[in-house]
Symmetry: none
Subunit: 184 residues, 4 copies
Amino acid sequence: MEEFIARGFAATRLDDVAKRAGVAKGTIYLHFKDKEALFEELIRLAIVPLVNRLTAPPPPAAGGTVRDMIEGFARAFIHEVATTRRGDIVRLIVAEGPRFPAVADFYYREVVSRGLAGMRALIELGLARGEIQHKELARFPQILVAPAMIAVIWQSLFARHAPLDANEMFRVHLDLIFGERRTT
Amino acid sequence: MEEFIARGFAATRLDDVAKRAGVAKGTIYLHFKDKEALFEELIRLAIVPLVNRLTAPPPPAAGGTVRDMIEGFARAFIHEVATTRRGDIVRLIVAEGPRFPAVADFYYREVVSRGLAGMRALIELGLARGEIQHKELARFPQILVAPAMIAVIWQSLFARHAPLDANEMFRVHLDLIFGERRTT
Amino acid sequence: MEEFIARGFAATRLDDVAKRAGVAKGTIYLHFKDKEALFEELIRLAIVPLVNRLTAPPPPAAGGTVRDMIEGFARAFIHEVATTRRGDIVRLIVAEGPRFPAVADFYYREVVSRGLAGMRALIELGLARGEIQHKELARFPQILVAPAMIAVIWQSLFARHAPLDANEMFRVHLDLIFGERRTT
Amino acid sequence: MEEFIARGFAATRLDDVAKRAGVAKGTIYLHFKDKEALFEELIRLAIVPLVNRLTAPPPPAAGGTVRDMIEGFARAFIHEVATTRRGDIVRLIVAEGPRFPAVADFYYREVVSRGLAGMRALIELGLARGEIQHKELARFPQILVAPAMIAVIWQSLFARHAPLDANEMFRVHLDLIFGERRTT
DNA sequence: TATGAATGAGCGTTCATTCAT
DNA sequence: TATGAATGAACGCTCATTCAT
């Protein structure tokens, strides 16, 4: 995966993949039909932790507010995805998705649609509890996660030009949605 | 450009580029040092219209509200970038940027930093006029454009799974920032 | 080697080398970094027999005269180098040496300097024994071998215009150095 | 010519030849059928001065000895050929001759055979005058010029390993042929 | 099951040659 | 006669894939 992330599908050499995996080049073909199958399998494998992150501990009990749940989730996402190698996987999917429909499909099914469904549920909970005012937000949960996605891309491309405090940005974003906080 | 968009840098064959351009393979080398130079030049060339889109019609006079200016701008961006081939250029830059620092640099300098500066100016105008309440938004103009970027990526990757009404999404996003509209 | 001899470095096609070697083109690159490395290795390999020819049978015992030793050696050189494919290797080195300093260096170190040192030793032995009169010859052992070198080049270039009896020429040359023979 | 000398026939680019000649690439084809024809013509042209050197002022009058004539000639040859770019032409002919029979033929006819004939004439004059003792030398005039040829090759290939005083070497060589000189 | 040497199709790049101007 | 942009065949090199061990 590291190799594919660093170089993209076409520019990655199976020689390097094998070396990194500590096996011989031929061994890859015992487990995967060809380079494309290997790539798709690896992406699938790499997506699982992302899914786990999403579906894992359904927001800690009922104690917290919806904002707390979302913020906690975002904080985890930013910490574990946006600022790590996992963020590059997302970028890799953006990069190779159009040439690997199977990859885009899988990612949409396992991550995007489920993630958006989860966000929509939280938004609706927020609306029900009166924490969120804007009803139409539930129609576009993408808006909720957009800054987190932007943070992922920013880290890969522009971090060295201008660092971005993703957590702080997301907090400001939540202020927009939930209204400004009095005290933190 | 079409070839690079469709296949990415590494998988694009100069044979195909030449054929598409209606010239012989060798002719490419009369104009570009090598494949990388060709790619970087093409990206540069393709970015110019994006920049023009950004800097062109300085929001129509003073008559309109800040929201109108932003909405007009977003509508233009979505119409001319997100839903066209130009959107794929943005995706291509996201995909190849890490392997082509020159490309990422150029894009940051010409598009990102200027775009964000423009957005920040509009946000500050909105704050001054009282249209925008949330002061901290000016610190993260990325939040303002995030849904537009998401729309670009969505079109490339997931349009066929679930179409996304980018204009409508952006309108909802602006409602969050400017407060809900009385009249639509 | 045959291919390089027949066409020179630049005009030799690796396709042909591979075909002649009975392997696929890619196989060459398992053993040599590139065409230059292949060429230099082949030259090195081809020079070894020349060196062996030089250093091998240390002139037969002490029985013979110095002239006999030199003549025996020259006869072997003419028979095994000048009139064979190995002679073309020498010509190849003359041809490509200036563009392959590593080749020229190696050839100088392994063949030329050792060969001249050997000749100088024989000349000094000849002087000590009174067989050779001309003291200064030891300063230029090149004079001793010059006709042999000329014979090598002649075979490659002019053999078809005018055959050259290299052995006979060398005998005349030795007559000059050792004085004419009484009995032949 | 400079280009062909520096790189050999195959590795020389007509682009560079044209640039060096101060004409456009196409212009070459107005004067020469193709690269081979250009090469052969250039060689022919370059050989002319060598020939002139050979046939020029037939040894100064009758005053001098045969040795003086040969020595004068050799000195001129070494000064004007062995240690100059013209020497590289000889090396170029050795290098490319086998692939360009026309070149080898021309060189043999214009230079080698005439040169050897001239040398043979001088040798016979030397024999007639009693300056040279060794009758058989006339059968192999190559022996007379061999050290000069060696000097040419040496300059190109080994000059930097070990400089060679060609004039001094040739003087020693002449001592062998004419007998040692009392006074110089 | 694992290896890695061998393969050869395929690609980037070069450069002799052409030809419209 | 001279130009130099354009051509495209050809070559060096790579790398996904195979297969004998």
